[in-house]
C-alpha cells in the first residue's frame, strides 16, 4: 500500500510539473472555491477506482474538502430529486453512468450552465448545452472466459455472436449472461442503442432466449460468474470494468466487436442549487482536463474521452483500433426517447417474448 501511495505521489508531482493547466493561482474559479472550502459529489464510480483522481485533485486544490458519496445510479437519482425538492441541500457535482437519468435531470432545469474551458477538447457529441458533459469514452464489450473459450471461438462481432448462438445452442445452454433491461437502466440503454444500430438485434435476443441466457442487474455479478466459468460469455459489459477485474482474474478477456462498438460515457453536471458551485466547476474542469483524463486512463483504468491523451485506454486508442466501428451514445436529449413509457414498455415486452420469459 505504501509503495502504491508513493507511486501515486511521484506520479502527481510529475504531472504537476508537466501540465501547465490550471493551478490555484491562475484559475479564476479557484479563489471563489477557496471560500467555499468544500465539494459534495454524488457518483456511481466506486471509491476504490476514483481514489487516484481524487488524490490528484486534492493535490491541486488542497484547500478543498471533498465529500465523495459512492452510490448506485438509482440512489443518486432518488437522493438528488428528494433533497432538491426539500430544499435541504444536495450534491454540488453529479457524476453518474445512468446517462438517461442524468440528461433527464439536466433537461428539467437541475443543471447549472457553465462553459468549461476544456469543452473545446471534447468531441461535439459529448456536450449538451454547456450543462451536461460526457466525461469518459467507454467501449461496450463482450467479456469471456479465456479458460473455457479458445481464442478462435471468441465471437469478434455482434453478427458472429448471433451465428454462434444459432449454431451451438446446446454448448451455450445457460452459459451466456447479459443485463436485465427491466431492472438495469444502463442495460436498457445499451440494448435500445443496439436495436438502433444493429438490424439483427432481435435475432440476438432470440438467441439469448434459445440458450436460456441469464440476466443480471450488475456487471460485477456477471464478471464473477464469467471468471468462475458458470458462464462463458457476458454480453454488453463496459470495458473499463473488465480491465479492473483483469488485474486480479487472468481468466477474463474481452472483445470490442468489429462491426460496431457502442461507446458509453459517464455524464457529469453541476447542480443548479449547488452550495459550492465554484468548487464543482473546478472539479469539472479538472475531470475534463488533460491531467485529470490522464490519471483516469492510467490509474483508474477508465477510458479517457480526450483524443490528446495517449495510450490504449483512451478515445485515441479506440479510434485507432476500431475506426468507424466506434458508435458513441450521444449526450443529448435523444436519449430521453427511452424514457417514453409506451415505447419503453413495448421494448420490454418484445425483449421478454424473445427471451421466452
Amino acid at each position: 500500500m505504501n509503495s502504491q501511495r508513493f507511486g501515486t505521489l511521484v506520479f502527481c508531482v510529475l504531472m504537476a510539473s508537466v501540465s501547465p493547466g490550471h493551478t490555484a493561482e491562475t484559475n479564476p474559479n479557484a479563489t471563489a472555491a477557496q471560500k467555499e472550502g468544500k465539494l459534495i459529489i454524488y457518483s456511481s464510480t466506486d471509491s476504490a477506482s476514483v481514489e487516484p483522481i481524487l488524490q490528484d485533485f486534492k493535490a491541486l486544490y488542497p484547500f478543498l474538502q471533498v465529500e465523495y458519496n459512492d452510490l448506485n445510479t438509482t440512489e443518486i437519482y432518488n437522493r438528488f430529486t428528494a433533497e432538491s425538492a426539500s430544499g435541504a441541500g444536495t450534491a454540488d457535482f453529479m457524476w453518474s453512468s445512468a446517462m438517461d437519468l442524468q440528461i433527464q435531470l439536466a433537461s428539467k432545469g437541475n443543471a447549472l450552465t457553465y462553459a468549461s474551458p476544456e469543452s473545446n477538447s471534447l468531441p461535439k457529441w459529448a456536450l449538451w448545452q454547456n450543462q451536461a458533459y460526457g466525461t469518459t469514452f467507454e467501449p461496450v464489450s463482450i467479456a469471456y472466459n479465456k479458460r473455457l473459450l479458445p481464442a478462435d471461438a471468441v465471437p469478434q462481432s455482434h453478427a458472429d455472436l448471433v451465428k454462434l448462438l444459432k449454431a451451438k445452442p446446446d454448448v451455450y445452454k445457460e452459459k451466456i449472461a447479459t443485463f436485465d433491461p427491466e431492472k438495469s437502466g444502463v442495460g436498457f440503454l445499451m440494448m435500445t442503442q443496439d436495436a438502433k444500430v444493429f438490424p439483427q438485434f432481435w435475432d440476438l435476443a432470440k438467441g439469448f432466449g434459445a440458450t436460456g441466457a441469464k440476466v443480471y442487474t450488475s456487471t460485477g455479478a456477471m464478471l464473477e460468474k464469467v471468471g468462475s466459468g458458470e458462464h462463458t460469455l457476458a454480453y454488453n459489459i463496459i470495458g473499463s470494468y473488465v480491465l479492473l477485474r483483469q488485474k486480479k482474474d487472468a481468466s477474463l478477456g474481452y472483445v470490442l466487436p468489429k462491426d460496431y462498438t457502442l461507446v458509453f460515457s459517464r455524464i457529469a453536471f453541476i447542480s443548479k442549487s449547488a452550495r459550492n458551485p465554484n468548487a464543482a466547476k473546478l472539479f469539472l474542469d479538472y475531470l475534463l482536463s488533460k491531467r485529470g483524463q490522464t490519471v483516469m486512463s492510467e490509474k483508474s483504468l477508465v477510458y479517457s474521452i480526450r483524443t490528446d491523451v495517449p495510450g490504449q485506454i483512451t478515445a485515441a486508442g479506440l479510434n485507432k483500433d476500431l475506426g468507424k466501428a466506434v458508435k458513441p451514445i450521444e449526450v443529448n436529449t435523444d436519449i430521453l426517447a427511452g424514457l417514453e413509457q409506451t415505447k419503453r414498455l413495448e421494448f420490454m415486452k418484445q425483449w421478454k417474448e424473445a427471451l421466452k420469459r
Partner: protein
C-alpha cells in the same frame, strides 16, 4: 403518572411507525413522486399494479416462498431449541454461537457463499460431479430458494422458542418423564405445546420476513427470471425509466396488508393465553432431560443442519476470500492468495465502516433495548384495547421491504423539518433501525417481563412504592439478564441491517453493509468475501466471549 406514561408510549410508537408508513400510504394515492410539483391525486398506481400479471405471479411466488420457509424453519428451529435448551445434548456450548451466524451475515453474502459452494461450478458441486458424473441439485430454482431461505431462518425461530423454553417450569417435563415418556414425545406433547405463543409469533415473523427477502432471491432466483415481490419492486425502480414511487408504494402496502390477518390469526390462537402461563418464578433446580440412546443421533441432526446452513456458505465465502480465481478448470491450490485482505487496507472508509457498525450495534443496540424496555413496561400487565393496537402497530415497519423503507426514512428526515438536522448523523440511522426492529425487540422484552411474577411487583406496591419505583427497583433488575441478551441480539441485527439506512448514509457514516453493496456493484466479490470473513470472525468472537461471560441469548 401511569396513564401519561402509557399514553406517551402508545403515541410515540404510533408516531415513529406512521411517520414513514403514512408517507408511503400518501404516495400510493398520487400520480408521481409526492414532492413533485405536478403530482396529483390518482388511483392509477393501484390500477396498474393490481392489474399487472407480473405482480400476481410475483405475489404468488412470494407466498409460496414464505409458506415454504416457515414450514421448514419453525419446526426445525423449535426442535433445535428443545434439544439445546431442555436436554443433555453434548457440545451445547460449542454449538450455540454457530447457530446464530445466519442472523448477522448479510443475505447477499450468504447467497454468494452458496454459489461458490453448491452453484453450477461450486467446489462442492464439482466434487460431487466428479463422483456421480452429475449434480443432483439445482441451486437456481424455486425449491433451492425455499430450502435455503427456510434453513437460514431457523435461528429466528430458535431464538424465540428457546427463550420461552428456558423459562418453562421443568417439573411438567419431569412429570412426563416419570410417567415414561421419551424425549421426542415430551417435546411434541409437553414442552413445545406449552411454548405455543412463541412458536406462533416466530411463525408470523418468519412468514413476514419471507415477503421481505431480497438478497437471496436476487442472487439465486433473479438471473433465471424468478421474481418475488421484492425483486418485482426492484424492477419498478427502472421499468418506467425513472423510479416509480407510487407503484412501489402500492406493492409495499400489499405486504403491509398481509400483517393484519397474520397478527389477527396469532391473537386469535392465543386468546386463551392464560393456558400457557406455566412460567415458574421459583428457582427450581433444572435437570436436563436425558436423551439416552438419542444423544448422538440428535447431535447428528444439529451438525447436519449446521453443515448445510452455516458451514457450506461460510466455507464458500472463506474460500473466495483466499483465492484469485475459482470454478471450472481451476486448481485451487495454485491460486491461493492473501491479497484480498491486504487490498482491503486501501479502502479509506473500511476502518470507519467497521467502527460505525460496532458503534451502531453496540451503543445503538443498547439504546434501542432501552427504548423497547420503556414501551414494554408501558404495555406490561395492561388490559386494554391499546395493547392490541400496539400488537398490530409494531409489526408494520418490518413488513415494509428494505428498498422502500430506506426511501421512506430519507423522506421523513428530509421533509419533517424538526428532525432534519439529524439526517447526516449516525443518529438517524439508529432511529430507522430501532423502528424497523420494533416487533423483534419488543417481543424479546415482553417475554422477559412475563417471567416476573406479579406478586413481586405487588409486594413492592403494598409497602408504598410508586409505579416508577416498582419498575426501577423490582421489575427492571429482575429482567436484567433478559435485557443483556436482547442487547446482544439487537447488536447482531444491527450489524447486518443495511437497506433501511441506505439513504441516510454518507461519507463518515458508512457501515459494513454499505461497503459490501458498493463493492458488489463493481464485482469485487473477493473483497466482499474478505470483509465478510473479518465480520464473521469479529462478531463471532464477541458472541463467543459474551456467551462465555454468562450472557444468555434469551429474554
Amino acid at each position: 403518572m401511569n396513564r401519561t406514561f402509557r399514553s406517551f408510549a402508545v403515541v410515540t410508537v404510533a408516531l415513529v411507525v406512521f411517520g414513514p408508513l403514512g408517507l408511503i400510504i400518501y404516495q400510493s394515492f398520487l400520480s408521481e413522486a409526492f414532492f413533485s410539483p405536478t403530482a396529483s391525486p390518482s388511483l392509477g398506481a393501484y390500477q396498474y399494479v393490481l392489474a399487472d400479471s407480473g405482480f400476481h405471479s410475483a405475489f404468488g411466488t412470494s407466498l409460496l416462498v414464505s409458506f415454504g420457509m416457515t414450514v421448514i424453519a419453525v419446526p426445525l428451529g423449535s426442535l433445535l431449541a428443545f434439544l439445546l435448551v431442555r436436554t443433555d445434548l453434548p457440545w451445547k456450548k460449542f454449538l450455540e454461537p454457530w447457530l446464530l451466524v445466519p442472523i448477522f451475515l448479510s443475505p447477499v453474502v450468504l447467497a454468494f457463499g452458496y454459489v461458490v459452494a453448491v452453484g453450477p461450478v461450486g467446489f462442492f458441486s464439482l466434487w460431487t460431479k466428479s463422483l456421480l458424473g452429475t449434480i443432483p441439485w439445482r441451486l437456481y430454482s424455486l425449491y433451492g430458494l425455499i430450502v435455503i431461505a427456510g434453513l437460514t431462518h431457523v435461528p429466528h425461530s430458535f431464538l424465540y422458542v428457546s427463550s420461552a423454553l428456558r423459562s418453562l417450569d421443568p417439573s411438567v417435563e419431569e412429570a412426563a418423564r416419570v410417567a415414561g415418556a421419551g424425549p421426542w414425545r415430551i417435546a411434541a406433547t409437553v414442552s413445545l405445546p406449552l411454548v405455543l405463543p412463541s412458536i406462533l409469533f416466530s411463525s408470523a415473523l418468519i412468514f413476514l420476513l419471507g415477503f421481505e427477502l431480497f438478497g437471496l432471491p436476487l442472487v439465486l432466483g433473479d438471473p433465471a427470471g424468478l421474481l418475488v415481490l421484492t425483486t418485482y419492486l426492484y424492477k419498478l425502480t427502472n421499468l418506467l425509466g425513472v423510479p416509480s414511487y407510487h407503484l412501489m408504494a402500492v406493492v409495499a402496502l400489499s405486504i403491509v396488508a398481509l400483517t393484519f390477518p397474520l397478527v389477527y390469526a396469532q391473537r386469535r390462537m392465543l386468546r386463551t393465553a392464560g393456558r400457557f402461563a406455566v412460567i415458574g418464578g421459583k428457582g427450581q433446580a433444572f435437570r436436563p432431560l436425558p436423551l439416552g440412546a438419542f444423544r448422538w443421533p440428535a447431535v447428528g441432526i444439529v451438525l447436519l443442519w449446521l453443515l448445510v446452513t452455516v458451514l457450506l456458505p461460510l466455507i464458500g465465502v472463506a474460500l473466495r476470500s483466499v483465492v484469485s480465481q475459482w470454478g471450472e478448470g481451476i486448481n485451487l491450490a495454485e491460486v491461493l492468495t492473501l491479497d484480498h485482505f491486504r487490498e482491503l487496507q486501501n479502502h479509506p472508509n473500511l476502518i470507519r465502516g467497521i467502527i460505525n457498525t460496532l458503534l451502531l450495534g453496540g451503543i445503538g443496540g443498547a439504546l434501542s433495548v432501552g427504548f423497547y424496555a420503556i414501551i414494554g413496561l408501558a404495555a406490561h400487565r395492561w388490559q386494554s384495547r391499546w395493547v392490541s393496537f400496539l400488537d398490530y402497530l409494531v409489526m408494520l415497519p418490518r413488513a415494509l421491504p428494505g428498498l422502500i423503507v430506506g426511501l421512506a426514512f430519507l423522506w421523513v428526515f428530509l421533509f419533517f423539518k424538526p428532525i432534519a438536522p439529524l439526517r447526516t448523523t449516525l443518529f438517524s440511522l439508529w432511529i430507522a433501525y430501532t423502528v424497523v426492529w420494533l416487533a423483534y425487540g419488543l417481543r424479546l422484552i415482553s417475554a422477559s417481563l412475563l417471567q416476573v411474577k406479579p406478586e413481586l411487583e405487588e409486594a413492592a406496591r403494598v409497602i408504598g412504592a410508586g409505579q416508577g419505583k416498582v419498575y426501577g427497583d423490582v421489575t427492571l433488575p429482575l429482567i436484567r439478564f433478559g435485557l443483556i441478551g436482547s442487547w446482544l441480539l439487537m447488536f447482531m441485527m444491527f450489524v447486518r441491517e443495511y437497506s433501511t439506512g441506505v439513504y441516510l448514509l454518507g461519507p463518515g457514516t458508512e457501515v459494513i453493509g454499505s461497503l459490501i453493496v458498493s463493492l458488489w456493484g463493481t464485482g469485487a466479490l473477493d473483497l466482499i468475501s474478505a470483509l465478510s470473513v473479518i465480520e464473521v470472525v469479529s462478531v463471532g468472537l464477541i458472541l463467543f466471549i459474551a456467551l462465555r461471560l454468562g450472557v444468555r441469548l434469551d429474554a
